[in-house]
């Protein structure tokens, strides 16, 4: 069996106090689109941030392109594309300056850069905004720009945290077509989403995450089996069944009292 593009094993991560990941495992092979689905706070973003090198973890292993990312935590990033869940963008740059900056950071050769930038702006219907600052963009335009930035260097591993949020239907279609196209060319894609109908159609494999660990992983067929679900049940129904079985949400935090009371 070939080595997966990204493989995480038994990953644990706690923020001060909160256990965010409790033994998550995951793998994505060449040409696969893997969906990460799970309730709010399940740990999707945490897992993604660990893979792209934004967050340290407590226990477990992360391998990208066959290399342990602890051993060399820099060079593996060259072939990764990443779109954050709520991307902070440099508001002061124009859209073309921003894409140029990201291209440079991602080692796109200087002479190819202007062409790549205008191609991206054209594809995502941002050419009219090329000379305007990011500060003036609408929410959906920002999302498109962030997606363009994630793919400008033609990555081999694309990691997207809820990429469709706020994008109009035509734009969503464009993005999904792009993902399928990139996967066909061998790119591995890891995408977290709450849009289960999309995940059902787009993803070759889905990992259902709950409270920091997998409750089920596989293609739709195998998820049905793991959930003891009927043949015609949708991913949504399977998802609800699996996460309900895995347990009720945790109780609320105790209330704070008084003007300046502390934790």
């Amino acid at each position: 069996m070939p080595e997966p593009t990204v493989r995480i094993e038994n990953l644990w991560k706690a923020y001060d106090g909160t256990q965010a990941l409790q033994g998550l495992s995951l793998a994505a092979f060449e040409g696969e689109i893997v969906g990460l689905i799970g309730p709010n706070g399940a740990g999707k973003t945490t897992a993604i941030k660990i893979i792209v090198g934004l967050l340290q973890w407590d226990r477990g292993e992360v391998h990208v392109f066959g290399h342990n990312i602890l051993a060399d935590s820099i060079s593996y990033k060259e072939h990764i594309g990443y779109m954050p869940e709520a991307p902070a963008l440099p508001e002061y740059l124009t859209t073309s300056e921003f894409l140029g900056y990201v291209g440079r950071v991602r080692n796109v050769p200087k002479e190819q850069l202007p062409g790549r930038v205008s191609e991206m702006l054209r594809d995502f219907e941002l050419t009219g905004k090329a000379k305007e600052t990011v500060a003036t963009l609408s929410k959906g335009m920002r999302a498109k720009l962030a997606f363009a930035a994630a793919t400008i260097h033609k990555p081999q591993l694309l990691i997207l945290d809820e990429p469709l949020l706020g994008i109009d239907p035509a734009g969503q279609r464009l993005l999904k077509d792009r993902l399928v196209g990139m996967a066909k060319q061998g790119c591995s894609i890891l995408v977290s989403t709450h849009q289960l109908d999309t995940a059902e159609r787009l993803c070759t494999k889905v990992a259902v995450i709950h409270r920091g660990k997998n409750v089920a992983t596989g293609d739709l067929e195998s998820l049905r089996g793991q959930a003891h679900a009927g043949e015609h049940q949708t991913l949504e129904e399977i998802f609800l069944k699996l996460t309900e079985e895995a347990g009720q949400p945790e109780p609320d935090m105790p209330r704070r009292k008084g003007l300046f009371s502390r934790k």
Binding site: Y92, V102, E111
Partner: protein
């Protein structure tokens, strides 16, 4: 008025609770208050020493200029937003059945409370410094504070009235009128510079003059002038009546959020929104300079990136204002005495605080964007090296400016002083950039990191400047050869500091933690 206590509590809580709830409790807040006490006292003392050299008429005009500046600031604030509302207040308070006047009273009390809590000690230190600088007994601070408090209250009432009028009467040219008044209050500062136009400033029927005369008698312990009391009273009553009339009107639909979270707290969303507004405000002008990404090396790209940000997001305005402020105070101080010590301290402040502020702005506006170089791999090291280089460049331009002004005034150049002014911003920049690889401003809590940035960059920059100027001074300047040696040593020292900084920042940024 029954909602006022609730509203006030909410506003105070929202603003101050985060700074109290951190790991160190209220300590960082207290430390911040104390940090500005020496500056406050220094500025007050310099001002007082200057005023001590003036005749009564000129003194009143100078006090009046300070009051005019406060009024002008009030007008500027009311042209902008005018009300200190948090974003959550817009969403939750202003959509509930609360009367305009209740909200305004709460906001007024909040502004007074927060000014006292945040800057109270420093302002008091400035007043005491002023009295000490003039050689007046310190108990006179009591009537002086009283006069200032009434004047301050009047300004807040003006700000609120203008804000409401602006919203409720969009066709009434409120902006134009405010601009005119702003201009007039600027004109009222001219007598302090000696341009009296043949009129006695003290007798002008404007509030600044009346309150300045009252402040005069507070400082000298004389009984207050009756006609000034009457003029001040008429203005206060008039503005109060106007406020009473306007404060009954609904105005919530015209409010923009000004505050971003609590005192010392960083709400990244609002910070970003503020930055967006700034970028929009300067847009047409500032995007004339473009960032060319397909030319230059990596260090050059990152340096230019940082310069473009500072240029476009309004940070440059802070730099110019602060620099101008300290140059102004320094000039004021130096004209009052032959001894340039006051000026040295103020040039030190002028050379360091703008850089420290740039560093803090970086924490607010830019740190979140660092995911781009972090996930990009190798570029984080160049990012920080570029950041440092850009700060050093800005610092050098600032010192060149200050050195020119100083040379023009003193008509001589002392090499040790020159070295001092060149090294202060270079040292500050190096400390600032190095610190930024480690300091983390946590959203949602008052961060001791911010204090560290302010304190360490200031003392670090000052330390480097002092040691450099001592070295240069020790060489002596009796012959041309020695002067040349001084230049070589100063420049070599600056380059060495920069180089050490680059090495430090490179190694520190390899282990940078984004989250």
């Amino acid at each position: 008025m029954s909602n006022v206590p609730t509203l006030l509590t909410y506003k105070v809580k929202l603003f101050f609770a985060p700074s109290y709830r951190g790991k160190f409790g209220p300590l960082p807040l207290i430390a911040l208050m104390i940090l500005f006490v020496p500056s406050g006292a220094g500025v007050g003392f310099a001002f007082g020493a200057y005023m001590d050299t003036l005749g009564t008429e000129q003194l009143t005009a100078t006090l009046g200029a300070a009051l005019s500046a406060m009024l002008a600031f009030g007008f500027i604030f009311s042209l902008g937003v005018g009300i200190t509302a948090q974003p959550s207040e817009l969403d939750f308070l202003m959509t509930s059945p609360i009367k305009s006047r209740e909200y305004l009273v709460a906001d007024l009390l909040f502004q007074l409370t927060s000014i006292m809590l945040a800057g109270g000690i420093a302002m008091f230190a400035a007043l005491i410094g002023l009295l000490a600088g003039m050689g007046a007994p310190l108990v006179r601070a009591i009537p002086l504070v009283l006069v200032m408090a009434v004047y301050g209250l009047m300004i807040v009432l003006i700000i609120q009235s203008v804000t409401i009028a602006k919203i409720r009467y969009p066709n009434a040219r409120v902006r134009e009128l405010t601009l005119l008044l702003l201009l007039l209050s600027a004109v009222a500062m001219l007598p302090a510079l000696g341009a009296s136009f043949g009129v006695d400033f003290a007798t002008l029927p404007i509030p600044q003059a009346a309150f300045a005369v009252l402040a005069d008698s507070a400082i000298f312990g004389t009984s207050p002038d009756v006609s000034s009391l009457v003029v001040a009273g008429i203005y206060f009553a008039g503005i109060g009546a106007l406020w009473l009339r306007l404060s009954g009107m609904y105005f919530f639909y015209g409010i923009k959020p000004t505050l971003s979270g609590g005192f010392g707290q960083v709400d990244m969303g609002t910070k970003m929104a503020q930055q967006r507004r700034m970028i929009g405000l300067f847009g047409g002008l500032t995007d004339k300079i473009a960032l060319k990404t397909d030319v230059g090396g990596d260090l050059s790209l990152m340096t230019r990136l940082s310069l473009v940000r500072i240029w476009r997001d309004g940070s440059i305005v802070f730099v110019i204002l602060l620099l101008g402020l300290f140059i102004g105070i320094g000039l004021w101080g130096s004209s009052s005495s032959d001894e340039p010590a006051g000026m040295d301290y103020n040039t030190l402040q002028g050379a360091t605080w703008p850089i420290a502020i740039l560093a803090i702005n970086w924490c607010y506006y830019e740190r979140e964007n660092l995911w781009i170089p972090v996930v990009g791999g190798r570029s984080l090291v160049t990012y920080f090296r570029g950041l440092m280089t850009s700060l050093v460049l800005i610092g050098l331009v600032m010192s060149a400016f200050m050195i020119t002004i100083r040379a023009l005034i003193q008509m001589r150049v002392d090499m040790a002083e020159l070295a001092f002014m060149m090294l202060a911003p270079v040292g500050t920049s190096v400390f600032a950039a190095t610190l930024l690889t480690r300091v983390r401003v946590k959203p949602g809590a008052f961060s001791p990191g911010l204090l560290a940035v302010l304190f360490v960059t200031f003392t670090g920059g000052a330390g480097i400047a002092f040691s450099g100027s001592l070295m240069v001074g020790a060489i002596g300047s009796s012959t041309a050869v020695l002067v040349a040696a001084q230049v070589v040593v100063a420049v070599a020292f600056a380059i060495a500091i920069y180089y050490v900084g680059q090495v430090a920042v490179s190694s520190l940024s390899r282990t940078f933690k984004f989250q």
